[in-house]
């Protein structure tokens, strides 16, 4: 019998931490019972991720909550050294004073990434959070956010994600402008906000909520935009000004590569007086996804057309026609496509996906336009929301008639 030598305990601490970070926090802490050498090897981990899997499951919610609180407090007390990442993501914890204490502890330990996803409840973020000046990433969910007057922003913050946060609009704007190196911004579940974003380094913007108006004041480096715009029944909520919203919103983003719009985004863009041409060409724009476009509204179709025609490198286009018949309009004339765009070419368009097509004139004309102007088109996928078999058949027949410029173009008709 040979001597069984310890294989692993004498590896350098950096390797052991590398291994321990790849385990779940619970498993990493369990290594403390392996042997004397392993007792505190976990305690210098800088990234801590907590969720309800850290504690034993139970049918009683209160039990899980108490155990989880004990677990986190225990880990923080036994921990040594700086903590760079703290992720807490559980719906079991709502509003507890323990969270305040943890945040105070973290603010004294060089916290850099803080993710706090709590359950529903009005947890008020304590003021010690605003002393964490080394923060590079902040993600809050279901909290109340109230920065003190002396707060000047996080100088190192690169990623900000606020979901369903109770905060005043001025606080949001000053927070955004107080973070000069901000690259990723995500605001969701906001109501009635007139938002003005000034972030010179911003690259990714994600907005989701009932915004009244959005001004991209200074965002030259934006690469990807995704906006879900909800609104009340009353269309007067959108400020009717003479500025064309499309220009106002997308006029200052020359580096844009991906644009995604949901719900009433296209409607929002279509408001205002159309100046005829867009001021910039989106050279880098490769993907456009616009959902819930109401093809009955000529203005919205116009927005769509403008974007498509001002993006010479567009590769992928996804459009869904709106099933929401809020404004039953008269079908406008379909010579929309005949003027101006007749000789237009979309040189790089490869994939087109149209969903919820209901056979309206404008929809079909749009598909015809695409197929007639895209020399490298490969796939056109059309899905229909029509239930009537006859109507669907008619639509398919119509589509098949359209001339195709690209020899490889396939028209795929899928059923919902």
């Amino acid at each position: 019998m040979g001597e069984s030598l310890d294989l692993i305990s004498d590896l350098p601490q950096s390797i052991l931490e590398n291994i321990l970070t790849r385990l779940s926090l619970r498993d990493a802490i369990r290594t403390s019972v392996l042997s004397t050498k392993w007792r505190y090897k976990w305690s210098t981990l800088t990234d801590l991720t907590f969720d309800e899997k850290c504690v034993a499951p139970s049918t009683e919610r209160a039990v899980v909550e108490t155990n989880l609180v004990r677990f986190i407090t225990g880990v923080l007390l036994l921990h040594q050294g700086p903590i760079h990442k703290f992720h807490l993501s559980t719906s079991f914890l709502q509003c507890r004073p323990d969270i305040d204490q943890w945040l105070l502890f973290l603010s004294r330990n060089d916290i850099k990434e803080l993710v706090l996803e709590l359950g529903e409840g009005e947890f008020r973020v304590p003021s010690c959070l605003f002393n964490c000046l080394k923060l590079t990433r902040l993600e809050l969910c279901h909290c109340e956010f109230d920065p003190p007057k002396s707060f000047n922003g996080f100088a190192s913050l690169k990623s900000l994600n606020l979901h369903q946060i109770l905060v005043s609009p001025e606080a949001i704007e000053s927070l955004i402008s107080g973070c000069p190196v901000l690259e990723f911004l995500s605001l969701s579940y906001f109501d009635s906000l007139v938002l003005s974003i000034s972030a010179p380094n911003l690259m990714y913007l994600y907005l989701d909520g009932e915004f009244k108006d959005i001004f991209l004041v200074n965002t030259p480096k934006l690469v990807a935009i995704s906006v879900s715009m909800y609104m009340h029944e009353d269309v007067a909520d959108f400020e009717q000004s003479s500025d064309y919203n499309l220009v106002k919103f997308l006029g200052g983003v020359p580096l844009l590569e991906k644009l995604v719009g949901y719900i009433y985004f296209t409607k929002y863009l279509s408001i205002g007086d159309d100046p005829g041409r867009l001021p910039i060409t989106y050279i880098h724009l490769k993907t456009i996804e616009l959902y819930q476009v109401s093809f009955e509204d000529a203005n919205e179709v116009l927005v769509l057309l403008r974007l498509v025609t001002h993006s010479p490198n567009l590769k992928e286009l996804k459009v869904s026609a709106s099933p929401i018949q809020l404004f039953p309009l008269e079908e406008e004339s379909f010579d929309l496509f005949e003027r101006d765009y007749f000789d237009y070419k979309l040189p790089r368009l490869e994939t087109v996906r149209m969903t919820d097509v209901s056979g309206i004139r404008n929809e079909l004309e749009f598909i015809r336009f695409l197929m007639g102007t895209s020399p490298v088109l490969e796939t056109v996928i059309v899905t229909s929301s029509l239930s009537d078999k006859e109507a669907r058949m008619d639509m398919v027949v119509e589509l098949l008639r359209f001339p195709r410029v690209s020899p490889r173009a396939q028209l795929l008709f899928l059923q919902d």
Binding site: I8, P12, N18, R39, N67, R70, V75
Partner: protein, 387 residues
């Protein structure tokens, strides 16, 4: 081997080799591109110029033995070729990681010392996958870890995380609070003067009670201290109140000292009584008296007390000696005051002085008052004599 043969046949395509020596002494010749994939070897070549010939090989770190090195080389040889796709690389890595745990650990160690981060990452990942989800016994088994924790110790981390942390946190907070409260009280006491009083009076008491013949010296010392302090308090601009209080405290201590000194053979209970009374009373009237006046007062009372005490001390055999009330040159002492009388006289004098001082407001002629008190005292001592 085939590579080197080919190279020999085509002298134009000279492949450069690097000489390396593993930790167990074996010399190896490795193609340059493959070896340079390791940052550590790269550094050795560039910064130290080693490895170009057999006589100057690069010595590999201790954790890199021949077997491990050949594994590392296999890895490098595959990955240094630029044309491979990510999928290819991934599947190679997967296959590469299939080895027993011992070799995996050694390989991790070797890769780390060669600073080959990608290899370290995949080996760490493999090790993590081994550890994941297993019970401690299983893990100890796999890695041959000694089971050297006591049963109690094994429970400890769990105990901490389950039972005590909140209590511990609370205790910490309580301890902090207690400290704060203590600090605050201490500051308050310093202001009031009691605290400072007690300490120094105790010191002085031990001084006095311990050494009879040195009593006067001790007193003189304390008097000197007092003078110095008074001087310093007058010199400093700063928190006048505090210093004034201090000087008064000292004065009252002084009195206490004198009193206790004079009634050395008395019951010690009175010791305790007097200084405190003096102290607390003094504390009340501290703010009211002008420092210059105070100084004068102090000196005069000192003189009086000194005379009282020194005379009495010198009379070891309890001789009766005349006590001179020489503060007022006109008056002369008439009575022979015994030990007891002088003691009581001191007490009474002190209390009268205190009472007088409570009457003293700003700008009153203190000297006159002092005269009065001395008169009263003489009258009182006469009274005692009668009794």
């Amino acid at each position: 081997m085939s590579e080197s043969d080919l190279d020999m046949m085509k002298p134009e395509t000279m492949q450069s080799y690097i000489w390396l020596q593993t930790s167990d002494g074996s010399l190896q010749q490795v193609e340059q591109e493959v070896a340079m994939f390791c940052p550590m070897i790269c550094q050795e070549v560039i910064h130290k110029g080693l490895g170009s010939s057999e006589s100057h090989p690069i010595s590999l770190p201790q954790r890199v033995n021949t077997a491990m090195f050949s594994l590392v080389l296999d890895y490098c040889r595959f990955h240094q070729v630029p044309g491979r796709s990510n999928k290819e690389r991934k599947s190679y890595d997967e296959k590469f990681m299939r080895m027993d745990t011992k070799r995996l650990c050694e390989l991790t160690s070797a890769a780390d010392s060669l600073q080959l981060k990608t290899l370290v990452d995949i080996t760490s990942r493999a090790l993590a996958r081994i550890i994941e989800g297993k019970t401690p016994e299983e893990i100890r088994d796999i890695f041959h870890l000694p089971d050297d924790l006591t049963e109690e110790e094994k429970l400890e981390p769990l105990k901490n995380t389950m039972d005590d942390p909140r209590i511990r946190l609370l205790n910490r907070l309580y301890a902090k609070k207690r400290k704060e409260l203590k600090e605050r009280e201490r500051l308050k006491n310093v202001e009031m003067g009691e605290h400072v009083d007690e300490r120094s009076v105790d010191d002085l008491l031990t001084f006095i009670n311990g050494r009879d013949p040195k009593m006067s010296k001790g007193k003189k010392k304390s008097k000197k201290k007092k003078d110095q302090k008074i001087d310093s308090s007058n010199d400093k601009e700063g928190p006048e109140d505090f210093h004034d209080k201090e000087s008064h405290d000292l004065h009252s201590k002084q009195q206490g000292v004198e009193e206790t000194g004079s009634r050395e053979r008395e019951v010690p209970e009175d010791d305790i009584f007097m200084p405190k009374v003096a102290g607390s009373e003094d504390g009340d009237i501290d703010d009211e008296i002008d420092p210059a006046m105070k100084e004068m007062l102090d000196r005069e009372v000192e003189d009086f007390a000194r005379r009282l005490n020194s005379n009495w001390v010198c009379s070891l055999g309890q001789e009766r000696r005349p006590v001179h009330f020489s503060i007022n040159s006109n008056r002369t002492t008439r009575q022979h005051i015994g030990n007891d009388i002088s003691f009581f006289g001191c007490i009474i004098f002190a209390s009268i002085v205190m009472l007088r001082w409570t009457d003293v407001g700003y700008g009153l002629d203190v000297k006159v008052n002092l005269q009065d008190t001395i008169d009263e005292l003489q009258w009182l001592t006469q009274f005692w004599l009668v009794i």
